[in-house]
């Protein structure tokens, strides 16, 4: 998984349960440990969806503030990460709806830098077209596509985070890919080779 590499993992589910119990009692060290264990994935997902560092920070902070404030409501029926990602996706998608800044893309400078460093790993024209095509996807398709194909979440994780069935996640990913294939049809010949 893309996002998993740099994430410090908790030693066990038992340890996580203990941290949650301590955090419920207001233990700041336990809150920080939970934050450290999950913040990378939450921030990365927020950034991929928002394409803006300020927004990604806002969404991440809001996610953890809400999570700690509502920790009493976490019953342990789902994994803590699932529960946390449900908050994260709600915060991010509602936030994006409100600010509407996700249409503003900071493309050119980043792209120029990546063109120099990456060569043909992903062609600049393709990257640019792909980014536009992903941006143009309906929000549901885009969220599932980013979570699965970009950040490496499983369909089970996506279903838990978005509160949908696993089959819905799979169907939305399939439709997202179909739309991207359509949008990138002129690359088909090159990709078939």
């Amino acid at each position: 998984m893309n996002a998993g590499a740099a994430v410090p993992s908790l030693r066990s589910a038992v340890e996580e349960r203990e941290l949650i119990a301590r955090a419920r009692l207001g233990d700041g060290t336990a809150e920080r440990a939970l934050y450290d264990a999950h913040v990378d994935r939450v921030y990365r997902l927020s950034y991929r969806l928002a394409a803006d560092d300020d927004l990604a920070r806002d969404f991440t902070q809001e996610t953890f503030i809400r999570a700690f404030a509502r920790l009493d409501g976490f019953r342990g029926e789902a994994a803590f990460s699932t529960w946390l990602h449900r908050i994260a996706t709600t915060v991010a998608l509602n936030g994006l709806r409100k600010v509407k800044r996700f249409h503003r893309r900071e493309a050119e400078l980043d792209e120029a830098a990546e063109m120099v460093s990456r060569g043909r790993a992903a062609e600049p024209d393709l990257k640019s077209r792909l980014r536009q095509a992903i941006d143009a996807l309906p929000v549901g398709y885009r969220t599932v596509f980013v979570m699965h194909d970009v950040e490496g979440y499983t369909h089970e994780e996506i279903a838990g985070a978005l509160g949908v069935e696993t089959g819905t996640s799979k169907a939305q990913l399939s439709r997202a890919r179909a739309k991207l294939r359509e949008a990138l049809a002129d690359f088909a010949g090159e990709w078939a080779s």
């Binding site: 009692l25 921030y43 394409a51 009493d72 990257k127 980014r131 970009v150 088909a188 990709w191 078939a192």
Partner: protein, 207 residues
């Protein structure tokens, strides 16, 4: 086949989609901690108001008790202090009033705890309230009101029960606490110590 290749190339290219910068962990945590702290000081939860009221009554009771305690150096004694109804306030009455207030609140708390425990609807506000009441229990045990042997026995049992609730984690704990309440007859004894009517100094002697 062509679809497979397309999806493989698509996933490969998609990894560059809005590539995140390094995660600004400490900066975000500083902001989260500051907002959490601001929230804690701004929001006074109901159980905290309740606890603060109980603590205020205790402090007031202890202050009155000290003021009305016998003095050897000519300072007014208890018999010089007259209650609102014209009757003297006996030494230790203030402590007893504070103790009675505490017992009433503890009875309400334990009744609520037991009802919610039996419905399986406990939440962590109970543990917070139990911790608060534990402090009051210790204060009363250390006050002259705690010298009454019968009250002292009850307070020690309450201290044990409240400590168990303060440590509450899951449903099995609630069952054990509930059984403990029954076996020691804590609620019955608690109710027996609380007379009907408001707790005022002129109704002393209930304890």
């Amino acid at each position: 086949m062509m679809h497979d290749r397309f999806e493989e190339r698509l996933r490969d290219a998609a990894r560059d989609y809005h590539t995140p910068p390094p995660v600004p962990r400490d900066e975000m945590w500083a902001e989260i901690a500051a907002r959490r702290e601001a929230e804690r000081t701004r929001v006074v939860r109901p159980w905290m108001r309740w606890g603060m009221a109980a603590a205020a009554v205790l402090v007031l009771g202890i202050a009155i008790g000290r003021y009305t305690a016998p003095q050897r150096d000519g300072v007014p004694t208890a018999s010089d202090v007259v209650g609102a109804a014209g009757t003297p306030i006996a030494n230790g009455d203030a402590y007893r009033v504070a103790a009675r207030q505490y017992l009433s609140r503890t009875e309400v708390f334990l009744t609520g705890f037991r009802a919610d425990a039996r419905r399986g609807k406990l939440d962590s506000s109970f543990t917070a309230s139990a911790r608060n009441l534990l402090i009051s229990t210790r204060l009363i045990l250390d006050s002259p009101a705690g010298q009454d042997p019968r009250l002292r026995d009850l307070l020690e049992d309450l201290e044990l029960v409240l400590a168990q609730i303060a440590q509450y984690e899951h449903g099995d704990d609630a069952q054990l606490i509930d059984q403990g309440l029954d076996q020691r007859g804590v609620l019955l004894r608690l109710r027996a110590e609380i007379p009907a009517g408001p707790a005022t100094p002129t109704q002393g002697g209930a304890l």
